[in-house]
Structures are given as C-alpha cells and as structure tokens.
C-alpha cells in the first residue's frame, strides 16, 4: 500500500482512460440487436383537454411498429408515476397529488407533456409518423404565475386551488414572541430563479423484453437504478423486481435530474414487449429542456429580528414553491424537509417559523437539482443576513461572526442537530485568502476606471446523507435512506466492491477503490468497483444529496471490517494460532508476538481452497455485505467570498476573485473533492448570473435551447481559490461530510451580495444578467442622485 494511493492522496482517476479515449459506454452508445426507436409526441399546449386522438394514419406510416397512447397504458393496467414523499398540511391532512400517467389520459398539463409514442424501425420514421397523429385539443388557460395560481382554474381535480400542500415548520408562537422583542427587523423579498439541470448527456433509455425468460432489461441514464426498478415494479407495475433488470451504465452527469423515474423510460420498457423489439429513445436537447425535471423556483418573503446588539432573535419565512404540473419522484420534500430545516444556516437563531405552499402550475415538474432545497434556504438566509448587516451598519463578516453557532452539538429550532463544525475557522481563512482587508483600496481603484466593485459573502450550511431511515420515514419518505455494499474477495486476493451508490462523474471507481485498498493494504489496481446494475448489486439507494461518501463509503468500510474479521478466522486456522492473536495490518494477517504471517491474498486463497479448516466450523469463501443506516445527517459548511467588478455602461459583471473555504470533514481524494467544489460553484454562478428558465404567459418555454438558456461557459468563469478547514463528522465511521453540492449552495448569495454591494442597493434579481445589472445600475445612479 503506497502513500500515493491511500486515503487522502490525490489519486488520478481509474475511470478516465475510457472517457478520454472515447470508450465510455453511455446509454445511447449501446445498441441492441433489432432495436426500434421511440419518438414521443408532446403537447404544444400548456394546458388542454384532449378531445380526440386519431393515430390511424400514423399507424400506417412507413416503418411504424406501434403507436401507443394513455389508453393502452390503462388497458395494460400500467400505473402512473409516483411521488415518493408524503407531505402533510398544517392541519394534518395529506397533500393533494394528482395522477401522473406516463402518457396523457384525456388531458395535457405542460408544454412537452407526453401525448403518445410512435415506435418505428428508424428514429426518422417514428418522427415522420408522429406528424400524422391528429390531436383535437380544447385549450385551457395556462397557469404560470404562482401568485395567481389559486384562482386560475384546477390543473388536477384533486387540487381545485392548485395548492398541493400548505406546510409549516417551527414554533410560530415563539417566533412571534421573538419579533415582539426585536430592536430591528430586516425584511426581504426574494425570487429563487427556476433552473434547468442540463447534464450534458441527455436522458436516454432502451427497453428490451426477452420473451424467452420473461425478463425486461432497461438501460437508462439513472443516478439510482435500484430505485427505478423498485418504482417500475412495485408502483408502475411493469414487472416484478426479479423480472426487471435496470442497468445504468456510464452516465453523463445527473445533478438530480436523473434521480427521477420519468415517462420515457417507463414507456420504453413497457413498449418493448408490446412491439416485440428492443425500444430505444434518446432525448434531444429541446426535449431535455421541456421534460427533465427543473429546479428551484421559489418566491419568498422573510423577516429577521435583531436585538439592540445585532444578535439574531428570530426568523420567519413564507415561501411559495412551484412544483410544476405533476409531482415528480421526490419533488414534495425538496421545498419542505430539504429546505426549511436548513434555515438556521450557521447561525444561533433561537426561534424560526417557516411556511411553505407547494403550487401546481402548467410547467414541467420541478424536483431536486444540485443542492435541492438547501441552495434555496442558503440564498434566503445569506441574503437577509447581508441586508441586516448593511442596515445596522455592521461589517458583514463581523455580523456573521457575532451570530455564528460556536458550540456543538447544536440543536436548531428546525429539526437539525449539527454534530460539529468550526465556522469561525473557515471565515478567518476565507478573509485571509480573499485579502479582505485591502478590498476598500481595490474598490477605489475600480472606481477610477469607471467600474463598480463589490464583495459578497456566503456562509453556508449543507445537510448531506439524508438519514436515518426511521426519521425520514416518520417525515413522510416512502423509502429508507441507507446504503449497501458488498466486498467480494477473489481467490487470488483481488477485490470487487459492489456498491449501491452510482457514479456519474463523481469518480467512485477511484475513491472507493482508494478506501478499500487502503483498508485492506492491497494495491489500488487490485480493486474494481461495480455499480449501476441491479443484477450485480443486490440493492442500493443511489447517488444524490452528496450521500455517496458519508453513507455509501460507510457501508463499504462496514463490509470491509467484516471481511477482515472473517480473514482473521481463516488466518487463525492457516497459521495455527488462536483467532484472538491474529492481527491485521498493512495487508498482512500476523500472529501477535511471532514472525508468522500471511498476506491478504494468501488468506483469500486459504478461504477458498478451505484445506485448513472444517466447513462446519467456518464457511469457505471471503465475501461480505453490509447495510449502513446513518444516525444523522452530516453538516458540511463553509464560507465563499465573491468579488465582482461591474461595467455600469453595459451591466456586465466580471467575477474577479472567488474564494471558497469548505469544511467537508475527512477527505478521501482532495483532487476529486476540489473538482466537485469547482463544478458546484460554476452551477451556482450560473444560477446567479446566467441561467433562468422562462415560461411566457401562455406557458410556452421560451428558454428551450442553448440559444436562450445561458449555460456557463469557460469565459464566464474565473479560476477558483479553494481552501479547506476540516472538522471530521462525528456520526459516521469515516468522518466524511460530503462535498457534491456545496458550491451550488454557497455561490448564488455570494454573487448577489457582491453585486448589491457594488450597485449600492438590494434590488438585483437572479439571474443578474447584464440587462438586469444595467437596470440596477440605473436605479443605483438615480438613488445616488436623489441623496
């Protein structure tokens, strides 16, 4: 075991070789013999009844194997798509979830909703035939504006006012009492802009039914193939789990959007039996824009109560969350349990009360997108903290420092019990790295050049590795949130690690191998990581919410410990010593106080040949599994500082310096962790400066391609200064907290706080495009002139 590949080393990635040489195997790279192609006819209207659907001409078109509709789904008793988290209203009644058929049954509810599928020999034939389908739509009013949704007409009959739920968290009376004592109250209204995830690999699926065995195989772009299988079996009813294999091969990014079980893969796997051929579908980018679950989209009002010394007394928040036209797989929990429990941020806030209304609109479903609820909470708390500091004439860093939680564990008024952290340490390092003390001089220099310079802070908290299962179950989750692992040691001592986590860019093949090689004292090249196939891995919950390190790797070490324990038993027989005298260190089992020892591989061989022990006393073989259910969330935190320079003539914002100091607990591979930070920041900057999904009043998605939806490009971003101050997590065996979402959570308020600092007022929307910032500059100039 060399230090170069151990835990904590920046090991280069094992998986890179196939990706840099074009040998990756993404879903669309897979072709099944005799496969046919699916094309989905989508609704051009935001909201309409389907009066008539005539597929007869399409059925007769060249190459067509089948045209399937919602009626066919119903006839086959295929169930609708589900939302896996039950939220209860303030009065205890359950949320109002409308049906979500994979193909429309009488009504369409957003532009891009699935009307019918055409399956043909070629994709072009399927698309040509779809143009021959005649749909008679009775167009209904679009519901786009959340503030007007209640009286806009029902999208689903079960929710006449389009309110899915009216939920709350915290102690209202205690919060009201805190406000009654306040010396100063800071108020803010915020819109958290709607985003479209845009993993570079569009979603894709191949359904393949084997009539010989009765087994369906689904190749799909999934972050959690086992959950997909569970939902498609138990709820949608395609086939029982043992007759359905889900394979998520190389997946080109997810960011949440590939957690969910969508209409297209459901239809492909079902249709493969209907047409008797494998059925392939690959989204084009426009389809991705229209039908991937979107993210964020909140309107909030918040108030922060302060005492005369600038200490926070209480926080109240009222949020409207857009859930789109249907409840996507985990949509309901994102603006509730993944949002409000984070509203305490890094601050000691004695009383918090949050109310959230989930609203149906005739737009694409909204669900978890990198950060999922936590960016929305962080944006709110970090914007109002910044505003409160400005209103009370305090330095924003000092104001935060004064209000930081300083002793741990800390119980917030909104569920969370933070186990550990050191917020002052990350702030101190960030201030130093950002050269905060000389900012005033830099601002002056910019002004000389006609530029506006601003600096913005974001002291964020995250909650990763959502858990424990019993707790999330009591809050309405339909699943447990543990993770599984299996360590298969081969007779020659090489190791396969089977994990329920799924890698779609996170580098698990490297970090997981690093961890196992380190623990077993073997070469990293002797370890292979297997994931993404329900026939290989027994079960797993997949990768999202930055859980693969804290939960997935904890399951792995649990299984590794079992392997070592079994190895000790084998070694005891092989070395003719008592089991209690066997020690395992640096890849060798040795007898304490002697020079007798066996290498890990030699013990593996002994376990398999089973010559030295009796099969009744000890089972042959060396393979162990583990399920790990955490006792708590983990709480990564950090401070990001963004410094901008604005050209008031054009409104262009240039990020001149980005400082990120994060506390992720223990780190397995700092190279990969830093990469996650960079990517997260880019998505957060994207939200703050560039990206915004825009539906017009008719419910048409105006930003349905890269011509109008601004993706962050290389020249939009700076390089990032990344630092770490790590305090190990106390609630998992590795001390890991998680790093996947931190940047996306931290970045937006840092950017907007910097821009509002530069322009001298708070009225800057996200995304702060040049046009928006130019308007803000005009307003700032008017304000100055008036003063």
């Amino acid at each position: 075991m060399s230090a170069k590949t151990g835990v904590g080393a920046p090991v280069l990635r094992k998986e890179d070789f196939r990706f840099i040489t074009g040998k990756g195997q993404y879903t669309d790279d897979i072709n099944r013999q005799d496969q046919a192609y699916a094309y989905f006819l989508r609704s051009p209207h935001a909201h309409a009844n389907i009066k008539k659907l005539d597929i007869s001409a399409a059925q007769k078109a060249p190459g067509v194997l089948g045209v399937l509709t919602g009626d066919d789904l119903a006839a086959d008793k295929i169930g609708g798509l589900i939302c896996g988290w039950m939220i209860h209203n303030k009065d205890g009644s359950p949320m109002k979830a409308g049906a979500h058929p994979a193909l429309a049954q009488g009504k369409v509810r957003y532009v891009g909703d699935h009307v019918a599928v055409v399956i043909a020999d070629t994709y072009a034939q399927a698309k040509d035939a779809a143009e021959k389908i005649i749909v008679d739509y009775q167009v209904l009013p679009a519901v786009v504006d959340m503030n007007k949704a209640k009286s806009a007409g029902a999208i689903h009959d079960v929710a006449p006012d389009n309110v899915v739920y009216d939920w709350h968290l915290g102690d209202k009376a205690a919060t009201d009492a805190a406000f009654s004592k306040a010396k100063h109250v800071t108020k803010i209204d915020l819109v958290n802009n709607r985003l479209i995830p845009n993993a570079m690999e569009p979603r894709a699926a191949i359904g393949d039914f084997d009539s010989g065995t009765g087994v369906y195989t689904l190749y799909t772009t999934s972050q959690n193939p086992h959950v997909a299988r569970l939902v498609l079996s138990a709820f949608v009813g395609i086939a029982p789990e043992h007759k359905l294999r889900v394979i998520a091969p190389d997946v080109g990014g997810g960011f949440g959007s590939k957690i969910f079980i969508y209409a297209e893969e459901t239809v492909c796997v079902w249709a493969s039996k209907k047409v008797g051929r494998p059925v392939k579908w690959t989204a084009d980018r426009t389809e991705a824009f229209l039908s991937d679950a979107h993210g964020r989209d909140h309107i909030s009002h918040a108030e922060l109560a302060l005492d005369d010394k600038g200490k926070i007394l209480g926080l109240r928040v009222k949020t409207k969350a857009n859930l789109g036209a249907y409840l996507s797989t985990f949509s309901s929990c994102v603006p509730t349990y993944l949002y409000a429990p984070l509203l305490s941020g890094q601050y000691d806030i004695p009383a918090i009360y949050a109310e959230v209304e989930g609203i149906y609109t005739t737009t694409a479903p909204v669900d978890a997108y990198r950060g999922a609820g936590r960016p929305e909470a962080t944006f709110l708390i970090e914007r109002i903290i910044e505003k409160a500091a400005r209103e009370t004439g305090s330095d924003p860093a000092m104001f935060r420092r004064k209000n930081f939680i300083k002793s741990f564990p800390h119980q917030t008024p909104v569920i969370m019990a933070y186990d550990t952290g050191n917020y002052t340490a990350s702030l101190d390092l960030a201030l130093e790295m950002a050269d905060y003390k000389n900012f005033a001089k830099r601002k002056k220099d910019s002004a000389k050049n006609g530029k506006l310079r601003g600096i913005g802070f974001s002291a964020y908290i995250e909650a990763c590795g959502i858990a424990p299962s019993a707790a999330v179950g009591s809050l309405g989750a339909g699943v447990g949130l543990w993770e599984s692992a299996e360590i298969r040691v081969n007779p020659v001592g090489t190791v396969e690690v089977l994990t329920g986590s799924h890698s779609h860019g996170q580098g698990h093949e490297t970090t997981f191998a690093q961890l196992v090689a380190d623990r077993l004292g073997i070469d990293i090249d002797s370890v292979a990581v297997v994931h993404g196939d329900t026939d290989k891995v027994q079960f797993g919950m997949g990768t999202y919410g930055s859980r693969s390190g804290a939960v997935g790797m904890s399951a792995i070490v649990k299984a590794v410990d079992k392997v070592i324990a079994k190895g000790k038993k084998v070694a005891a027989y092989a070395l003719e010593a008592a089991e209690k005298d066997i020690q395992f260190k640096d890849g060798r089992f040795s007898v304490a106080g002697t020079d007798k020892s066996l290498a890990f591989g030699e013990v593996a061989l002994q376990a398999y040949i089973a010559h030295k022990f009796n099969g009744q006393d000890l089972e042959p073989g060396l393979k162990e599994g583990a399920f790990y259910d955490p006792t708590n969330f983990t709480f990564p935190s950090g401070v990001h500082i963004c410094e901008v320079e604005i050209d008031p003539d054009t409104g262009t914002t240039d990020i001149v310096k980005w400082t990120a100091v994060d506390d992720f607990g223990n780190v397995i591979n700092p190279m990969i962790v830093e990469g996650q930070v960079h990517g997260g920041i880019a998505q957060g900057v994207g939200q703050a400066l560039l990206e915004g999904a825009h539906y017009n009043a008719d419910g048409q998605l105006v930003t349905a391609s890269y011509m109008d939806y601004t993706m962050p490009r290389a020249d939009d971003l700076p390089s990032f200064d990344v630092g770490m101050t790590n305090t190990p997590c106390t609630t998992n065996p590795l001390g890991i907290k998680g790093c996947g979402e931190a940047g996306a959570i931290a970045a937006p308020p840092a950017v907007i706080n910097a821009i509002t600092d530069a322009v001298g007022h708070e009225d800057v929307p996200m995304p702060a495009t040049p046009y928006a910032v130019w308007q803000a500059c005009q307003k700032g100039a008017r304000k100055l002139a008036a003063e």
């Binding site: 072009a124 040509d128 426009t286 003539d649 054009t650 409104g651 560039l690 825009h694 105006v702 930003t703 890269y706 011509m707 109008d708 939806y709 601004t710 993706m711 495009t769 040049p770 046009y771 130019w774 308007q775």
Partner: protein, 267 residues
C-alpha cells in the same frame, strides 16, 4: 430533418442550374445556420445544392483598393488572413468573433451574408464598409442588398460568389453578445473612408442590420470616441426580448460604437 435530394455541383454555373431546377431547393454553404434549422424541422428544402465542392469560390485577395473574398471562404480564413489583417483589421477581428472556433472553421462569409440573420456579424461590416456583393449574375451594393430580417436582394437562382470590401482608412467592430446564444445583442461596425463615416448596427434592429444616423452624424465632423458622448439612439424599431429591452439595446448602440471608434483610432 426532413428528407431532401442532395447535389454537389463542381462549378457555380452547375449550382445555378440546379438551383433553377429545384424551386424548393436551398444552397448549402457552411451550414452552420441552415443545418440546425433543418434539424429542428423549421426548414424543409426539397434539395440541397452543396457549394462545398464547387471550384473557384474561396480565397482572399487585394484588388486595388478593395479586399475581395470568395463566398465559400471560411470565417477562420478571414480571421487569420494577413491580407485582411493588414488592410481591414476590423474585419479580421469581426470574423475572429463569429460563433465559436468550430463554427468559424466551417461557416462562410457568403452564407452569412446571404442568410442576413438579424443578429449575424458580417452584414454590419458589409453595410458599414459599403461592400459590393458579387453574384453569378450581377454586382449589388450593400445598401441595396440587405432588405430586412432574413431578406436580401438575391433573386431566384442567384448565388453569391464574392464579396468586395473597399479598404477604409479606419474601421472596427464591437459586439455585445447575447449571453446565451453569443450572437450579437448589439454589434456596431464603424468605418471611415475619406470624409464618409458609416456606422452599421446588427442584432438590435427588428428589421435587421441598419445604419445609425445618430452615431454617423456625431462622428462625421470628428471621428473620435468623445464625439459620441451624450449621443442618444431612439429605441423605436429596436428588438425587445427576454435578454434585452429596446431601451437597453438603444443604450448599448452608442456604447459599442464608442468602443469600436476607440479600437479603430487606437495607435
């Protein structure tokens, strides 16, 4: 994409004949706009007449006081041409800023001008430099050529063969890109030749490229960035969309013009 018949003529004459025969046909040059449009099924030509194999349509040369560029010359060739850089550096710089590197390797000057996209860069240079568009049938001045959004003076069966740019004494282009598409939100090409000052604006006008009378008037007496101080451009007739209001575009025109003049007059 809908199906189409494909033709790869070897000469401009053959191309013109094919174009005449295929009423619903279209000419394919670099394809960087046409192909995405066809992929989205927003265009359905019956035939594509591909000029990529036609002879004599590429190349850059100085002819007297003009730079003459073959219609199938790729943007990268114009951007890196020593002849263009020497005679009209502003034109080379414009070409260097079209689309991205891969688009510049494929896209052509003829295709860009024939398409007359209201947010394309080349039309502004052609109009400001008072270029002559040479077709298989005739010569057309830029003033006559551009006739509004996606509309040009090209007639049925007419193909651009060359574009001739008179060499100005000073010229430069400044673009404020749409943050998403990177097309011009406002692009301003300024050119001075003798006492003639022309300022052409792309991206902003709801009817395609146009000349800014306000900027030209200010620069006519003094071709200097300061001359544009306080110049206001009217917002009427300008585009408004989610990326920019007409007011913002109107504001950006003199700002970009000023920056272009600074570039043009920099030593």
């Amino acid at each position: 994409m809908y199906a189409f018949n494909y033709h790869a003529p070897k000469t401009v004459r053959q191309a013109a004949t094919l174009l005449a025969k295929n009423e619903e046909g279209k000419v394919l040059a670099g394809g960087q706009t046409l192909l995405p449009t066809m992929k989205q099924r927003l265009a359905s030509p019956s035939a594509l007449i591909d000029l990529n194999h036609a002879e004599g349509m590429t190349g850059i040369e100085q002819k007297g006081r003009n730079i003459v560029i073959g219609a199938m010359t790729r943007h990268v060739e114009v951007a890196t041409s020593a002849v263009v850089k020497n005679a009209i550096p502003g034109l080379a710089a414009l070409a260097e800023g079209i689309g991205d590197a891969a688009v510049r390797n494929r896209g052509t000057i003829g295709g860009s001008i024939a398409n007359n996209d209201p947010a394309a860069d080349y039309p502004s240079a052609a109009l400001a430099l008072n270029a002559t568009i040479i077709t298989n049938k005739r010569k057309i001045t830029a003033d006559e050529f551009f006739q509004g959004m996606f509309a040009t003076a090209l007639e049925e069966g007419e193909i651009i063969v060359k574009v001739s740019f008179p060499i100005p004494s000073k010229a430069a282009y400044e673009k404020f890109p749409n943050p998403a598409s990177r097309y011009a939100l406002v692009g301003v090409f300024v050119a001075k030749k003798g006492s003639d000052v022309r300022v052409a604006v792309t991206g902003a006008g709801s009817n395609g490229v146009f000349r800014s009378k306000e900027c030209e008037a200010a620069l006519a007496s003094r071709f200097n960035a300061k001359a544009l101080d306080g110049v206001k451009v009217a917002a009427s007739g300008l585009n408004a969309d989610m990326h920019a209001s007409a007011d913002y575009r109107a504001h950006l025109i003199p700002v970009m013009a000023k920056r272009a003049v600074e570039k043009a007059t920099a030593k």
